[in-house]
Symmetry: C2
Subunit: 392 residues, 2 copies
């Protein structure tokens, strides 16, 4: 069977080494990772299979990680990871959504096999796929082990991207640009909202002539008219009126690497108040971006944006951005650094962020944003769509 690996084996081994170093530092013998993005990062694994229990085990005493999941997904593990066959362990289907059997008991046996019966085991307490029951089952099955919270341990290692990862982020950005252009081309009075969504989704997979895309970590946000103030609302079947505002947040994805982009499109002539709002947000966004450089903190960058807005009498309640990279639904961002005041994360070359400078007011909202990678001298934009209010 042909292997589908998007990174060199040496890169996977370097990532593993960094994780093991951090484990040793914290006195963790075994990591039981539940987050699909971390499975992908450390082994290459890529399948939509994490809706049934799936974990990757990293033991200080075991060379390779061990993938553990459902029997029918074993073939995906063989196809998409660099792991040796003995490090791919699958439980039979009778464990799936059973009232009596827990896949975590199966996984606990693998822990024992690598000498982990009395180990100090790190788990991702806040992970999307580490349920209260998963934890309870593992603790019950390994009564002599000590469990410690190692949530986002791997995520903080992921936060600095390698050149090969940045190459994928750039490809994702090209897909995202194509999606936004397609949306702008599609938007006009009389078009159904769902048909705008259809066009955007089509482009997200068709990608570019050179390469295609894959499913994003979240559906696009398509917030129109009165619903422009609801950031995460679903779209409707309604037709666009002659005059309205469309706020789009789009996610292009290339081999699980994701780049986000928001733009507002005014259908019909925008009010002068809205034009003014757009000027303010753009000034803040550009000032924020210009302040990005290695050594600055997330808090400082957020402060620059806040101060610019404040000069014009506006404020934004939410954080103005977050770290981005490899991901699976439903994760928006990496759950590590946020661009907000109080976050003292120091920017380093290779970190990627979505500067999410959307503003939602009482009656209207505007979203003009920029994803970027931190470079030695400042930042490089991951999309090339002009930063402006589009008018159709």
């Amino acid at each position: 069977m042909k292997k589908e690996l998007h990174f060199e084996r040496a890169e996977f081994l370097a990532r593993l080494e960094a994780v093991k170093k951090e484990m040793a530092k914290r006195g963790i013998d075994i990591l039981l990772l539940s987050e699909p993005a971390n499975h992908n990062y450390l082994t290459g694994f890529d399948a939509y299979s994490f809706y049934t229990p799936q974990m990757v085990l990293v033991a200080l005493t075991h060379d390779e990680p061990i993938w553990m999941g459902r029997l029918m997904d074993r073939v995906s593990a063989t196809m998409t990871t660099y792991l040796a066959d003995e490090n791919i362990r699958a439980y039979p289907d009778k464990y799936v959504q059973s009232k009596v059997l827990s896949p975590y008991n199966f996984m606990a046996e693998v822990v024992k096999e690598v000498g982990g019966e009395k180990a100090r085991i790190g788990v991702e307490m806040g992970g999307y796929y580490y349920s209260a029951r998963a934890h309870a089952d593992l603790v019950r099955a390994l009564p002599l082990a000590e469990f410690v919270d190692a949530d986002v341990l791997v995520n903080w290692i992921r936060i600095v991207k390698s050149p090969a990862e940045i190459a994928l982020m750039r490809q994702a950005g090209r897909i995202t640009d194509a999606m936004m252009q397609r949306a702008i081309d599609t938007i006009e009075p009389g078009v159904r909202e769902c048909d705008i969504a259809a066009a955007v989704y089509h482009q997200s997979m068709a990608g570019t002539p050179e390469f295609g895309g894959t499913y994003a970590c979240a559906p696009p946000c398509l917030c129109i008219g009165e619903r422009a103030i609801a950031p995460h609302a679903a779209w409707t079947d309604e037709r666009l009126p002659a005059s309205t505002t469309v706020n789009l947040e789009l996610f292009g994805n290339r081999h699980r690497y994701q780049v986000q982009l928001s733009r507002s499109i005014a259908v019909g002539k925008p009010s002068s108040a809205y034009l003014n709002l757009s000027d303010v947000v753009l000034e803040g966004l550009n000032a924020g971006l210009e302040s990005v450089r290695p050594g600055r903190t997330c808090s400082e960058v957020a402060g620059v944006f806040r101060q610019t807005l404040a000069r014009h009498g506006f404020e934004k309640e939410a954080r103005i951005g977050y770290s981005i990279g490899v991901g699976f639904p439903p994760a928006i961002g990496e759950r590590t650094a946020s661009l907000r005041e109080g976050d003292e994360t120091v920017l380093r070359t290779g970190m990627c962020f979505h500067m999410m400078t959307g503003l939602w007011l009482d009656k209207t909202g505007i979203t003009i944003t920029q994803s970027f990678v931190v470079t030695e001298s400042g930042h490089e934009s991951l999309t090339s769509m002009p930063r402006k209010l589009f008018v159709k």
Copy 2:
């Protein structure tokens, strides 16, 4: 602001009543629901916002449910639920992915407010959005309360669909049919796999001329050639060869109600072995469907399928289906009844299932399946795509 509700208030109240009745039976004072499908079922709430902590509280002593979530999603709660304003509670953004603040402390305060400090509290231990940390934080914040596992309590009430829900399932089925037809039309030698995905996604949102669709709970499965044996693999950028097999599993979604459909499409002339395999699966699928009626058990239906396959020397390791209905990513199915031997769930009118009779063998796979609703006299198909192997 215009309300976007897809059911009558009376239907929401009847659902709530059924949940409260079950709570009383189990001695549960308060339910803290983490599953987005249950939020939608009990309040109407619909937004892609559950990637930050969000819960719906049901207290025996409180008339309406209480939605608790992120401040920026409050407007979606106002728009999509029938709840009174005082039953919509939002935490500020500083709680989001913070190292020091937990949204669950905010929620614990609401529990106290409705008299729940010493209550018996049901939580969804196995829910996708009830992390080990969520549970630990709530237990810490409510030390006098007793926590009990009420996982899938609401799901088991959801399992029998109302006429209004079945109407949405039929609409979802029409979207799914349109997606499959579009895929069959698109598939031909030379087409990139990602462009098949693009066409399918486009149709999933464009839906029909009368109504559009929305995002599904999972990406389509598009398993081609050698990868036809990997049920949940991602697609590639490769072009279809002159002769291959395409296994599709597609999910049409209407207002969060989802209907699934799988078909295999042979590109070029299929081998006689493959044609034989398709005959066997079809015979099993049709026999299974014919055996469906109220009063039969899931186990009996699965047995009919297994026996038919066994007569031809085949067996299927995995369950042959699962309950379907309202859902959000990443849930495939309702996590309740499975069509498999040993599941003694008795079929009732209004239950909906995907009979997932896909077979994955060593070198090939075939997927021809049927979603249906149990009727008084047997079953009604939720899609109308012919049950057969398609050849292009």
